[in-house]
């Protein structure tokens, strides 16, 4: 046992090491000059861990599509303020033949790729043929018009370097065809450059996953998965060079950390703040909240394989068992708009009707009393979605329906959903392109309801056998009169309001928080309309 006197003799070596360590820490901890992003550099924090490729023939994730849209140009664009209006991009004029099957696009003169190569019709031909040949995840957006690896060489051609001709297998609605050409998969790549990088018949896919060959406002300098994407401006961009020399997109997984970075001035824009975090900083003069209504819908689905859930009364009753306004007003606070139909607001044929309210008495009456069933609700373990699921659990209980929550990782929940092993599912659906067919096909089409069905739409995943609606959906894509076509989609939606296993809760409103000195950052109406091209910065406060 150490005596008092002995205690006075300290372990000096250890103490010295400790002091030295603290001194090093202190030296590193000298307060730096306040961080401020330079005026010609744009820094954004967001969750970019969904990116698996930056080849536009393969990109099918939110972040990848956003970045790709800032690198590549497409033949056509839609107007951000009215997605039914089509504008020129690489094509400055276009027409369709009388029989509705042959489209001619005239290539805008004077455009160049980031490599210096001119943009020609041959590049467009190569880009589209490449998409069909590679047949990667988003290829169906073009392939649905009858393009196959066998016929694509004859169906897509360039009679001269300024004209692109595309021949579809049927006379589809031109609006649908044009909408699909505004999708990311229809980006025009630099054929000469990509061909030079092709290996083992991959059409340059491996190389283009991590490099760029576009004519858009930025070129890809580097993509480090789960870390950072760096874009450098393209000085000869045809609409004018971006003001920002470089755009840095940093992966910051934690929304709370994004907020800290924003408040310190280390980033210009934070993309993933929660409604609570946004509410806490909404009155700050040096920050600005930005909102944009997107096409994504959040919905509750009832698996029709379940004896309990396939009762028509149950399908209808649950629509009165969701606290729509509570969810939008309390949980999502500005990041959602009430919407109860399958075509998003702003799209052709959208229906501005929200007939359902939280009304447990009506639901009980529809269910006819008695003991309610017990069901499971699968949901992603994401904070807001869990809160919504808890709200659903509470409101269903008002009609005696016992809901057990089954939160899981996104892919785990999806695997179960795709296997039709769920009872209730709460999730998100965003259109693949700005046309009502994308959602109608998902929700209101199910060509083969058997377990072996190859077209695994949302209707199929919920085992909802709907031959009549499927036929209506198929017919609507061939309707060339926009007015009649819009009426077709409204009729489909009215039928689904009357009876369907889907409860659409709300339409997503995307939110970003930017520093007040940042101007011209565009969120746009779709996940691939986020644009950094027009970003400028005024002098700091």
């Amino acid at each position: 046992m150490a005596s008092k006197g002995e205690g006075g003799r300290k372990p000096r070596t250890g103490a010295r090491i400790a002091v030295a360590a603290l001194a090093v820490l202190a030296a590193l901890s000298v307060p730096p000059a306040r961080a401020e992003v330079p005026p010609d550099v744009f820094v954004m924090a967001m969750q970019i861990d969904d990116v698996i490729s930056l080849d536009p023939a393969e990109v099918f994730e939110f972040t990848g599509a956003e970045v790709s849209a800032n690198i590549y140009e497409r033949l056509l664009y839609f107007d951000d303020d009215d997605v039914t209006r089509i504008e020129g991009g690489v094509a400055d004029a276009w027409e369709v033949s009388k029989d509705g099957r042959t489209y001619r696009f005239h290539i805008r003169p004077g455009m160049t790729f980031q490599s210096g190569n001119p943009v020609t019709a041959e590049d467009a031909v190569y880009s589209f043929r490449r998409v069909v040949r590679l047949n990667l995840a988003p290829a169906f957006i073009l392939a649905q018009f009858g393009f196959t690896p066998d016929n694509v060489d004859s169906r897509i051609s360039a009679p001269d370097s300024e004209t692109l001709v595309m021949e579809t297998d049927r006379a589809y609605s031109p609006a649908l065809f044009y909408a699909c050409l505004t999708a990311d998969v229809a980006s025009i790549v630099d054929a000469k450059l990509v061909k030079s990088r092709a290996a083992n018949g991959d059409d340059g896919n491996k190389w283009l996953r991590t490099h760029s060959a576009g004519s858009g406002p930025f070129r890809l300098r580097v993509w480090k998965p789960n870390e950072i994407i760096i874009l450098d401006r393209f000085a000869d961009y045809w609409r004018g060079a971006p003001a920002m020399r470089t755009a840095f997109i940093r992966h910051i997984g934690e929304p709370g950390v994004q907020r800290l970075l924003l408040e310190r001035g280390d980033i210009d824009v934070a993309r993933n703040l929660s409604p609570d975090q946004a509410a806490a900083i909404k009155d700050r003069a040096d920050l600005r909240l930005k909102f944009a209504r997107k096409g994504s819908l959040f919905y509750l689905a009832l698996n029709q394989k379940s004896d309990v859930l396939r009762r028509p009364e149950m399908r209808q009753a649950v629509k009165y068992l969701v606290d729509y306004m509570g969810i939008v007003g309390t949980i999502l606070r500005g990041q959602a708009e009430p919407h109860q139909t399958i075509i998003p607001a702003g799209y052709l044929g959208s229906l501005d009707e929200n007939p359902f309210t939280f009304d447990p008495a009506k639901a009980k009456a529809l269910l006819g009393g008695g003991e309610g069933p017990a069901v499971t609700l699968d949901v992603r373990n994401v904070q807001e979605e869990l809160q919504i699921a808890q709200s659903i659990q509470a409101s269903f209980a008002a009609a005696g329906i016992e809901v057990a929550l089954a939160p899981g990782d996104g892919r785990q929940v999806l695997t179960k959903y795709r296997a039709r092993n769920h009872d209730l599912y709460f999730g998100q659906w965003g259109p693949d392109y700005q046309d009502p067919h994308s959602n109608a096909q998902a929700f209101a089409s199910n060509p083969d309801n058997s377990d072996r069905g190859q077209v695994k739409t949302l209707a199929w995943r919920n085992a909802w056998d709907i031959p009549e609606l499927t036929e209506m959906t198929s017919a609507a894509v061939l309707e060339r009169d926009p007015g009649k076509r819009a009426a077709d989609y409204r009729e489909i939606q009215r039928r689904m309001l009357a009876d369907s296993p889907f409860v659409v809760l709300y339409q997503q409103v995307d939110m970003a928080v930017e520093r007040a000195v940042v101007h011209g950052f565009v969120l746009g109406p779709a996940f691939d309309t986020v644009s950094y091209r027009g970003v400028t910065k005024s002098a700091a406060h």
């Binding site: 400790a18 730096p32 996953r209 760096i230 950390v257 970075l261 990782d409 892919r411 695997t415």
Partner: protein
Amino acid sequence: MPFARTLARNLLAAAATILGLLIVTFVIGRLLPIDPVLAAVGDRAPADVIARVRAEMGLDLPVYEQFFIYVGKALTGNFGESVLTARPVISDIGRYFPATLELATAATLIGILLGVPMGVASAVRRGQWPDHVIRVVSLFGYSVPVFWLGLMGLLVFYAKLGWVAGPGRIDVYYEDLVPAVTGALAIDSLIAGNMTVFVNALRHLVLPASILGLYSLAYIARMTRSFMIGELSRDYIAAARIKGLPERRVIWGHAFRNILVPLVTVIALSYGALLEGSVLTETVFSWPGLGRYITNSLLSADMNAVLGGTIVVGVVFVGLNLLAEMLYPVLDPRARSARA
């Protein structure tokens, strides 16, 4: 040759451990209720694309065949491509592992430099106020969730005081300024002679390393205290004191030297755990490390990446244990004589 026999025995045990790792990771990958094709092609790919990718990934083969392919790949060092990053797994590991190594090494150094003296001081002043303070610090490091601690650390030292740099390994403006040699930015910047990048990298490293180091410190200090209390109660310590040796020599020259063997094991285990188990710290600090890579890959059933990452961690873990065991004879003459 007893040493060669020991080495052979240890290597055999290491091989068995790694084979066990392979089996466990394969079984976990197959038991997870996640379709790996989803990670590769997304939720909306048509049925023909899903079927083609499933075949390309070998998932249409019988399970036993998949296992042999899996083991075969591990033995040949070919881990294939990661589904999530679409890059060769080996190049992913080459990027993520040095980041983790840098963080874990800095944290372990903090743990050793502070934890060992604290543990010794705590044992020497057992029951007195330094002991109580050190025990509270250790308990804090052990029991406070690292996730919360990381966020609070960022809030106080980065956002409020501005003493340290924010999340990430380096300010974005310094990205790609120094060539990657070791993959550890602090070292690479020194090699390149770029002191600006070096200081910036250290400023980014100091907070996550300190947070992780607190955990390491807590463990090392507690174990050092425990070893030292045992050692200080031995007869030879009383004899040394009776002989009138200075207390400093009794503590550091006699007692501490005799706890080095178990202490090295504790440090090796703590270091190994930090190499793989710092997922939450890596998440909070946006640190692109191996722990987060393996966790994300496992949650996506990206088995190539899980296999590669697990093998690397397993080999390092086993290697650290081997190293610790090889150090025993150096640190303890009794171990030398036992082997002789």
